[in-house]
């Protein structure tokens, strides 16, 4: 479109006036202590920037737990986390010897060898506060805050997958290692959907918003989700990328994202294990205040779970940058694991497939 100078001048004046009145309104509101929803030029809430979903709150509630913590309970948990950090910051004995033969007794992922120092970890320091409530789980539906049961058909699918895996020792091939260890995708369901914390570190995201796309980058393994806005033109059924195919639209001030076409590997992993190609996940993002995005999700696949299940996760402003997590390029660990398994087999003179 060709802009003649007079039209340009009019636009400029209207634009400046409009901007001025908007700025004035915002300044007045801020002076009155009110938070004003920041908006992009097309009038939608501005969801952009760096966010984190790191939290102490786990995905699933314990069977005996209430839906919310009391303020005292929450403080105790957060204080415990802070106390642990402080304790682990204390100096060690410079004359300490090597740790014991046979392992140091550490469990879980620390694997008996003590992992590494706690200062590398950044698992979150706060209980998840969603709409003012101190949540005991990220799952809110079913009402007990726990994953719903799977259908018989889903269990069958999982059992078959399990049987396939059992043909192999867990260190036999790179393909037998977890996807995150192979640097193919982020830990757990970081990129999702649904986008869940990994309870380790780097639970960070960058959101960029244009009139027809929303881009969500997960720090871990630089996973990118591109959400196309408007009427869905979904991919063919046999095209199933990682993180699925996402289409978004606005419902008032909430961004609604619907995702289908999940990769078969993603349907065989973690929370989504046993799901079918008809899996659909719906997410809602609402800017709650200056520092918070309310993230809600619903997982739907009645061939897999007896009911749909939903969660609510606060994403808070990340005070810092999101850094490159190149992963594959520096993946000594996978090499060490495979080499180590071969070396151990040689030492043991074992040619059997090791038991899991």
């Amino acid at each position: 479109m060709r802009y003649t100078p007079s039209i340009l001048a009019v636009f400029l004046m209207v634009g400046i006036t409009g901007l001025f009145s908007q700025v004035t309104a915002q300044v007045q509101a801020r002076a009155a202590g009110q938070w004003v929803m920041p908006r992009t030029a097309d009038g939608h809430p501005d969801l952009q920037g760096n966010w984190t979903n790191a939290t102490i709150t786990l995905i699933q509630r314990r069977r005996d737990q209430d839906a919310v913590y009391s303020p005292e309970e929450a403080l105790r948990l957060e204080g415990g986390r802070a106390a642990r950090t402080e304790a682990l910051n204390q100096p060690s004995d410079p004359d300490r010897k090597a740790p014991p033969v046979g392992g140091d007794g550490s469990t879980g992922a620390a694997g008996g060898v003590g992992g590494y120092n706690y200062f590398w970890i950044d698992a979150g320091s706060k209980v998840a506060k969603f709409n003012g409530e101190l949540r005991t789980s990220l799952i809110v539906d079913p009402p007990d805050g726990r994953y719903p049961s799977r259908t018989d058909a889903a269990r069958q699918r999982m059992s078959e997958a399990s049987q396939f895996r059992r043909q192999f020792g867990q260190y036999d091939n790179p393909e037998n290692r977890p996807l995150a260890e192979r640097c193919i995708v982020s830990f757990g369901s970081n990129a999702g959907p649904p986008m869940l914390p990994n309870y380790f570190y780097n639970n960070n995201y960058t959101i960029v918003q244009t009139p027809d796309h929303i881009m969500i980058m997960t720090e871990m393994v630089h996973d990118v989700r591109i959400i196309r806005m408007g009427t869905p033109k979904p991919l063919p059924k046999n095209v199933r990328p990682w993180f699925g195919d996402s289409w978004g639209h606005w419902e008032g001030d909430t961004l609604v994202v619907e995702t289908t076409n999940f990769s078969p590997v993603q349907l065989n992993r973690g929370q989504l294990s046993g799901a079918t190609e008809n899996l659909k996940i719906t997410e809602r993002l609402t800017r709650a205040d200056e520092y918070t995005l309310n993230y809600e999700f619903t997982v739907d696949d009645l061939e897999t779970w007896t009911d749909s299940w939903s969660g609510e996760v606060p994403f808070t402003r990340l005070p810092g940058l999101v850094y490159e997590y190149a992963c594959h390029e520096g993946n000594y660990a996978l090499f060490n694991v495979l080499r180590g398994a071969r070396a151990q087999e040689q030492r043991e003179g074992s040619r059997q497939i090791p038991k899991r």
Binding site: R2, Y171, V208, H213, D223, R228, F335
Partner: protein, 293 residues
Amino acid sequence: MLSFVFKLVRTLRRTTCSVVVCMALGAISAYAQTAEIPRTQEGKPDLNGIWQALGNAHWDIEPHAARAALQMQPGPVVPVPAKDLLAFGAVGSVPSGVGVVVGGEIPYLPEARARKIENQENWAERDPEIKCYLPGVPRATYMPFPFQIFQSASHFFIAYEYAGALRNIYMEDPGPAQVDSWMGQSVGHWEGDTFVAEGSGFNDQTWFDRAGNHHSASMTVVERYTMTSPDHILYEAMIEDPQTFSRPWMISMPLYRHVNNDARIGQFKCVEFVEELLYGQLRKNPIGSEEGR
């Protein structure tokens, strides 16, 4: 006032004119054309969309003749493709190109030029693209894969299809990068209608192409993205690296918009594709070993 000028220009063009006047008129028409490029609400050229380079800079950014393969071995008469590349046949052959380096040749320092030749001779071991490593800058721009620009008032983000590479080009300088990275750290600003991205903090692991052209961790890259029409961007990148080159040098090429309505970038997560290559020998039963087949 401007509309009067436009009318005057059209009238003058219909009459005879000297070279100088014609050039001036051409420049004014060209300006009238750039007024057609899509603009954001903030008035900047709108670079949102899916873009891709044509040509074969990804093979070799310097002018080059076609050749049989990226790595050769001595043959009975002339060199022939290296053993590992034979099965590719013509699929693995390198097309000719006039290059994208402004001025023709990369101004290597002597030791760096020797290293480039060594890289070429050992391409199969050394090219980071083979291992699906992140391509770095500017190679990411002209890989034979599309990329998508997400441009808002506050952000300028590029997602590349190849290996899921990405760059968040900061619109505010966060200070120098404290750790080197594959895609570097870039800070962007507008100079008129050109988006300028200044990149630094690159590691020394990436190449410029499949021809062994390399750099050190001191490299800085200044890119300029200028929309020359609604569907074209003129891409220029100035590379400066006193450890490797005797002076700064520039590459230049057009970028073309994917104009089909349902254009989208695909997913090329190639890490899985190279596991046999990288870890095959570490399997419990490697393929080709007694127990493996």
